[in-house]
């Protein structure tokens, strides 16, 4: 119990005079999550839109597939990515293994289905009248995409926030692909896992609080996009 309190004080201590390792971990986390979010949004929004906006046969099966991808275990993704980027693997020469890039790739795979599934659902809820209106106002395919996503912006925002939470907190990929190398590929979450394994629960809590603080700041800035 008491280590919760201890962890709290430690968290403050970390932030005020945090050691290099903490800062590098924070930095790594930010870099990786930002990158993977950018990628997964770039890919997921259009896919989600297409699935949600148009009616085509096999649509429901596609949805089922995407929903299933929501249940990809991070370690599993880690293993897959590892298989490709290990020195023996087909992409070995790029030397993505034990790099933040590698982690970002994995996390993109993790976030993509979330963005896609939630975007599709939100877009599906769009009023038939809107589609009609856009077409009748002479909107082209691109206009329609952008306008529709903007009309359901709060849904999209929710999708992004959810995916962000998933990416920020995942351990499996960072461990497997990043290697949790101190000062290099150690992220906050892998650090937490490590400290916990060491039995340094207080430090685990402290790092956890730091992570949550970061998430809070991000969400706070996003919340200004919300309906006033």
């Amino acid at each position: 119990m008491d280590y919760l309190v201890e962890g709290f004080t430690k968290a403050i201590d970390l932030l005020i005079n945090g050691d290099a390792s903490t800062w590098t971990a924070i930095w790594a986390t930010l870099k990786v999550s930002t990158c993977s979010m950018a990628l997964s949004l770039g890919a997921g929004l259009p896919c989600g839109f297409l699935i949600g906006y148009f009616d085509f046969k096999g649509k429901r099966h596609l949805r089922t597939l995407v929903d299933t991808l929501l249940s990809l275990p991070t370690v599993f993704i880690g293993l897959i990515v590892y298989a490709f980027i290990t020195h023996r693997g087909p992409l070995g020469e790029f030397e993505f293994l034990f790099t933040l890039t590698g982690i970002a790739i994995g996390q993109t795979i993790l976030a993509f289905p979330i963005i896609t599934a939630l975007t599709a659902t939100t877009v599906e809820s769009i009023d038939k009248e809107l589609k009609l209106t856009l077409v009748s106002l002479g909107a082209g395919k691109r206009n329609i995409l952008i306008t529709c996503l903007w009309e359901v912006r709060y849904g999209i925002l929710a999708a992004a926030v959810t995916a962000y939470g998933r990416v920020m907190t995942e351990v499996g990929i960072s461990m497997m692909v990043g290697g949790n190398i101190k000062y290099h590929t150690r992220t906050i979450t892998t650090a937490i896992a490590l400290e916990t394994n060491k039995g340094q629960f207080a430090d685990g809590i402290a790092l956890g609080l730091v992570l949550i603080l970061i998430a809070f700041i991000v969400n706070l800035s996003l919340s200004f996009l919300r309906k006033q």
Binding site: K182, R186, T190, T196, N197, K198, G199, Q200, F201
Partner: protein, 253 residues
């Protein structure tokens, strides 16, 4: 009744990972009728679990930490059960040319050559031992050096990183054998330094101090620790083979 005939143990990944427990415990249950469950974690967490009385008994390998643990009154009657030994492994090419050297010289070489060395860096028994070895080179513990990678992972994962980084690392023999077997015996990493006395890796059973943890099943724990020390169990340990190779050498008094 069966409820209090069951025992909870915290142990280290190596005992579980090598499959020793899966091999050993059924005998224990058969002979004593005590069901034993175990959770395999880092030594540090294992000790912490004991300290919070969440388990009844510990099987760990970090003598200095254990001593401190008992001194703090968390644990009681530590009993040596067996040991295996650590080895330094590295690429066949052996860039730092440490093959056959004394352990302290070997590490010194690695430091001079700035050859990649991969460390568990997770405060596990193995990691504690490694730090001990670095101390024996009477140079400061490497930390931020670019060639010194602290991965903070289990042994296999660490060996894995080591292979990919073409570096050196220290591992317990069991884990190495397991790794070797997966590469069906043409592994890029081979044993370069071994047999040094300081490389021994002592496993002990520790029962929790009933004063600290009244709820812990002290009696059963004692039964377990004495069974582990018994002739019978020791023989079983002696006969335990992982891929036709001895792993643990029993040494209970």
């Amino acid at each position: 009744q069966a409820e209090n005939k069951s025992l909870m143990m915290a142990t280290t990944t190596s005992t579980d990972g090598t499959g020793l427990l899966d091999y050993l415990i059924p005998y224990f249950t058969k002979e004593t009728g005590i069901e034993l469950k175990w959770t395999a974690t880092g030594t540090g967490k294992a000790l912490a679990l004991g300290q919070n009385c969440d388990v009844d008994v510990l099987l760990v390998h970090a003598p200095p930490a254990e001593a401190k643990y008992i001194k703090n009154g968390y644990g009681k009657d530590r009993r040596q059960i067996m040991y295996n030994d650590f080895v330094i492994i590295g690429p066949k090419e052996d860039p730092a040319a440490i093959k056959g050297k004394k352990i302290s010289d070997a590490l010194a070489e690695i430091r001079n050559k700035k050859a990649v060395f991969v460390s568990r860096g997770d405060d596990s028994g193995t990691h504690k031992k490694e730090k001990l070895l670095w101390k024996s080179t009477d140079k400061p513990m490497p930390d931020k050096e670019s060639w010194y990678l602290q991965v903070g992972k289990g042994m296999q994962a660490t060996i894995n990183v080591c292979e990919n980084k073409k570096g050196y690392t220290m591992t317990d023999r069991g884990s190495y054998i397991k790794y070797q077997s997966q590469k069906d015996n043409n592994a890029p990493l081979t044993i370069l330094v071994e047999g040094d006395g300081i490389l021994l890796n002592q496993y002990s059973v520790i029962t929790l101090d009933p004063d600290n943890c009244p709820n812990a099943k002290y009696e059963l724990a004692l039964k377990f620790s004495s069974w582990m020390a018994s002739k019978n169990a020791q023989n079983l340990i002696k006969d335990f083979r992982l891929l036709k190779q001895k792993l643990f050498i029993p040494n209970a008094e």
